[in-house]
Symmetry: C2
Subunit: 737 residues, 2 copies
């Protein structure tokens, strides 16, 4: 109660402040959004000295010089996404923004005049426009320059900054034209004109509130800032702060996954910085325990070897050098001075021309970068952090390794039906893989560059992932809404020098079926090896066919059981839910005991997947590419472990990286799996996996007890053991326990 | 006549010299093979100073220190290649050689004693040995330590150098034991004991003569040197000099291709250096116009982006950093001081501890490296350079590009049946590819690490290459002997700033069928583009089915004609000669005009292959992997242009690199082919290809006239042209011609 009262006082105070400032607004300092007048003074000094900042300046200036030598083109809107007028308007806002910066730094009025002339051209055009002709029928959010208002909001975010940058060079008359004919109407169109988008707690809303809020700062419309922060009714049910509350988990994880997280990041980073510069008393960077910084940092954590983990609809070559994260890292460094961000900035190899960018450039010039620390983390999903989690396990014991384990929420429309799936990375390569999105971005011949039909028919389907498929049907029967409403439950996560372990389950992916998976990336210090442990329990009220695919990247080297291979003819594995895209290349039914599949990745390392089987798990070897009339799919490999007509089954396996293939230097080391024994048992709440690897017997214990009773004692082979954490690793030939 | 007399005088002179030297032989300087006593003095100085040489020394010393701390193991020979005793004896000779060097540089007698003890152990073992138990039955060349005498000869090459390096530390008694019980018997076994191998003009003979010849220098057996140089009968019909005469072409090309050339190089480089150090009057490096240096240089030229062109049985990851070429480059630099070799040495990143290695290290330390110049060359094949040619075309106009065109000879048992095939490379990647060898070197699970059965059944077959297959039968009907006896004829080769062009033919690959191919890598300077032009003429006395495959690396993006794709079931394209390994994924019959196939390579560039078709060329799209029960093949893609029942056909096509796909930065440029017109005509001896590309019309003329009448005038579209070289490129919208 007290807090609420206090907060409402603060709000009043701010309003009062604004009222006082208003008359002086026109004389307020420009620029003062992401870049302030004080920043500009520092930046002007910096470009006179050699260094990364002045180099970035010269590079951008050279590019802008070429562009401003061309005539200004502000076409009447006509084309949809990717079309000519669409791309031209996108180029225009980027150019205005860049030219504005060059104006501030060079103090050459020609750049300001170019931006002014383009703004005047827009001011002339805008009043003549209706809704965009290529808008979607019955769309709630059409634009005028663009087919959808998302692009229009992005246009405003850039253009208002460009305007702010050249403001000082404008005549009163130009200011009046630009503001009354263009910028104010655009801001009103995007706020009052589209309440559903503006108030929506969604990435589209973030762009709209960022644009409108910054317009409020520049054009002395404090009410617009209030509405941007708290929604059109200033209720706090929507608006930028609510978006910060709901679109990220408490740790800063964005529900749709890293590919979309980095995209979502930019308006947050941009508007927050503008708020801080205009109204530091709002303490925006402390908001929700520093959520903006957490969101930036989490985006970095969600990468491996420079690329984002490609969960959901992700294009796999997207990584930390994406421009959105360049902005994010500049801000993160400016806020923290943590030298690890400089390490990331170095990999990004791009300097932003801003006050924060200058700080990064100068620190890099001074050689202050230090290794950024990638951690093993369970990122709780959902705004409360309790809608499952995205789990990352890392180890540096035997090369740079990572397991991504995904008991995460659906992640809206771009989410895949892949509850409890996993991926494995080693030595810079993907080993156990996720297809990512089926899309060739902007390649016209490939379905106009949009998501391919195979994105729905294959990439999103469960069988395209490394998790259990029941009766050849995808999770939630492929229904996004059901998926969004039902997240897995993270049972536990723990990381220590022994490794990282996590367990999670979901009982809503299939009716009457509980899927529970426990995974661990275990360090075997004595051998300088790691293994991935995978225990997948399926418990069902009725009998089903259970498939557990593993998509691997590399050349199949060996299996320790015989295969019946289809050498003369191939057929698809199934008819729907992604199965229609898999050629069945061969099958084998290993006897009770250990079933091994080895492959060689192009990183030159071997990987052996060893399963403990009961004689009923069939292994189906597949290649992607059936039902693919347009050659849209990559022809990747998988094997599917299948049990039929089962109510209950436990898939037990370990993945073991080993050896090296170096035909260039003509040597091959340890091409064969070193695992000779694998057993599984249970003692009360403790799962026990015994492995003999390279002659060394190990006992790996995973404690599944409830939080309160974490200490467990147990017996194994007449010896007493005790575990008081989640994971314990015992080297059994050692006298010590 | 005069020359012959002169040569015979020189030989007499040398013999006389030896006779004079003999009595003093025992006091001759040691070491004096590849490394001389004078080299050692320089090397000892160098290791006291920081630099690449002292670093290489410390690295090797650290490694040797670990090894000499282990007990000496000289096992009784038992295992074949890859087995324990085989590998142990290989490790031993390498260790003796390394320890010998460390002894010379550190002057620490412990190293010499280690080598001495190992040599004494060998001296004790050798007299007890018969032929190796794992030798091949009825083999002409068994060893005693090894299953084949090739390894035994390599053993001697290393061991005699190790002996020479520690000679100064040995007692007279040890010298007597080692020479009489071990080194002399081994040398006699490899020479007198195996005349057929020793006298053979073949790589095995080179190792034997190198070992025996160096043994002659070290142990004062000048007759051995004579025999090593001129064969056992000193006839000159065999021996090292004959090998230099016959195993390389006049330009230094080795008939089996670069993968084997780099392997063959080492004994040549080693023994030649020893000859130079012992008998400079033989002028071995001037022999055959400097053939040793040419052979080294050609090996480098036969690479692209650090890897050898993978023709014939080549493992594709083998490149210029191979140890044999590290030795070769050190010698090449020592002989020439050409700074380009330092550029290669830099990429090799390995310093040899020898006098030549020191020169390289010191020059690298001084920063003397300059770009090595890769050229467009036709390497004449065969000892006379007239058995066809291996043609390399390069361009730097639009990225680092290379065409390999192969009207080369068969290349003995490792040769592939791929007359007139080609490959294309761009931006560091293979674009139009060759499968190379089907082999996983030393991977036991893959057919013991040997050449896979699929090497014969697929990789060597014609359909695995980018050249015409008649009636689904490989060239020479797959008969190596016929292939070796019948090389293609190189018609012409020319390179200029316009591009590189070559034409060749063969009429022995199939009875009654002439295959003639003309290829050009053409620079279109106005567009900063290159294209590859490919004209393949087949003329036959009878009607045949003609297939022209193109194996491409990348994802199919588009075809401009419709395809009937096998979406539900796949079958193999044929039953034998490699066809049984190709799944038929789809087929299309483009109408008369231009038929385009576009793909996207992982280098991010698009490639469009445009054929001018007559409406009868069917395009069959394939994927490798049928009849492959052990998953031994990579699942690569191809399309096969097929005409049926034809006596005469001309395949006309161009390959066009274009655009860029950058999903990380979210842009795609020029994803579509810019070729809008392609025509072909002939004016007398001049082939004319007219192309309109990116709106610019070009006329490309290729002059096929006989050497004597190279200047040709012709008319095209009422304009007069003249060509006085092989290739002319006319930009037709230009008023100038």
């Amino acid at each position: 109660m007290n807090i609420a009262i206090f907060r409402s006082k603060v709000k009043s105070l701010i309003l009062v402040t604004f009222v006082i400032l208003l008359p002086f607004g026109a004389q307020a300092a420009h620029p003062n959004l992401v870049i302030t007048a004080a920043d500009v003074l520092e930046m002007r000094k910096a470009i006179t000295k050699p260094g990364q900042f002045s180099k970035a300046y010269s590079d951008l200036k050279a590019q802008v010089d070429l562009q401003v030598a061309q005539p200004i083109i502000v076409p009447v809107p006509k084309d949809g996404g990717g079309g000519y007028t669409h791309e031209q308007h996108k180029n225009n806002y980027q150019l205005m923004y860049n030219a504005g910066i060059i104006y501030q730094l060079s103090q050459d009025k020609a750049y300001a005049e170019y931006v002014r002339d383009m703004l005047l051209a827009y001011a002339q055009l805008y009043p003549t426009l209706g809704l965009h002709p290529a808008r979607k029928v019955e769309s709630q959010n059409p634009g005028k320059f663009f087919w959808q208002s998302l692009n229009e909001a992005v246009w405003l975010v850039y253009t208002i900054q460009a305007y702010d940058l050249i403001y000082a060079a404008l005549s009163v008359q130009d200011i009046a034209s630009i503001e009354t004919k263009l910028l104010k109407p655009v801001a009103l169109f995007l706020s009052e004109g589209q309440p559903s988008t503006f108030n929506k707690v969604h990435n589209h809303g973030t762009w709209a509130t960022a644009g409108v809020g910054m317009a409020g700062y520049v054009m002395n419309e404090p009410e617009w800032v209030e509405k941007a922060l708290y929604d059109l009714e200033k209720s706090g049910k929507g608006g930028f702060l609510k978006q910060l509350d709901e679109l990220f988990s408490p740790q800063g994880y964005y529900n749709e996954g890293p590919y979309y997280q980095r995209y979502a990041l930019l308006p947050f980073v941009t508007f927050a910085k503008a708020i801080e510069n205009n109204e530091p008393q709002r303490k925006i960077f402390q908001y929700r325990d520093g959520i903006v910084l957490k969101a930036i940092d989490t985006t970095i954590q969600l990468s491996y070897d420079g690329l984002f983990f490609p969960i959901n609809d992700a294009i796999k070559s997207k990584g930390i050098d994406t421009i959105e994260l360049v902005h994010g890292v500049a801000l993160a460094y400016s806020l923290t001075q943590a030298p690890g961000y400089l390490d990331i900035a170095k990999q990004q190899d791009q300097i932003i021309l801003s006050g924060d960018g200058l700080k990064v450039a100068q620190a890099l010039d001074k050689g202050l970068a230090a290794s950024y620390q990638f951690n093993s983390v369970a990122f709780g999903d959902g705004s409360d952090g309790k809608q499952g989690a995205l789990v990352i396990m890392r180890s540096q014991l035997a090369g740079d390794q990572a397991v991504l384990f995904k008991p995460a929420a659906q992640g809206l429309g771009h989410g895949h039906f892949d509850k409890l799936t996993w991926q494995f990375y080693d030595q810079g390569e993907e080993i156990v893989s996720d297809y990512g999105a089926a899309r060739f971005l902007n390649v016209e011949a490939k379905f106009g560059g949009r998501y391919l039909p195979e994105n729905e028919s294959y990439a999103k389907q469960t069988v395209a992932h490394n998790t259990v498929v029941v009766d050849e049907t995808s999770h939630f029967n492929g229904d996004v809404e059901v998926g969004n409403a039902n997240a897995p439950v993270l049972h536990f996560f723990e990381t220590s020098e022994l490794g990282t372990v996590s367990s999670a389950k979901i009982d809503t992916a299939y009716q009457g079926v509980e899927l529970k998976r426990t995974m661990a990336l275990v360090n075997l210090a004595e051998l300088e090896k790691t293994i991935v442990l995978d225990l997948f329990d399926v418990v069902s009220s009725k009998a089903h066919q259970l498939d557990l695919p593993l998509h691997y990247l590399g050349q199949l080297i060996d299996t320790n059981f015989s295969l019946a291979v289809n050498t003369g003819q191939l057929s698809a594995l199934g008819a729907k839910n992604g199965y229609q895209h898999l050629w069945l290349k061969g099958r084998g039914l290993p006897k009770q005991g250990l079933a091994k599949v080895s492959w060689l990745n192009e990183n030159g390392r071997f990987y052996t997947h060893t399963s403990l089987v009961n004689g009923q798990e069939e292994f189906l070897f597949t290649q992607l590419g059936a039902s693919d009339p347009n050659f849209n799919l990559r022809n990747e490999q998988a094997f599917v472990r299948r049990v039929k007509n089962n109510k209950q089954h436990r898939f037990i396996s370990i993945l073991e990286p080993h050896g090296e293939y170096n035909p260039g230097k003509e040597y091959t080391l340890e091409a064969e799996s070193q695992v000779t024994e694998l057993g599984y048992s249970q003692q009360g709440e403790v799962l026990l996996v015994d492995i003999t690897i390279a002659g060394l017997p190990y006992l790996i214990a995973i404690n599944q007890a409830a939080e309160g009773s974490i200490k467990q004692d147990f017996q194994y082979q007449d010896r007493s053991f005790s575990i008081n954490r989640r994971l314990a690793v015992f080297a059994l030939n050692d006298d010590e326990e």
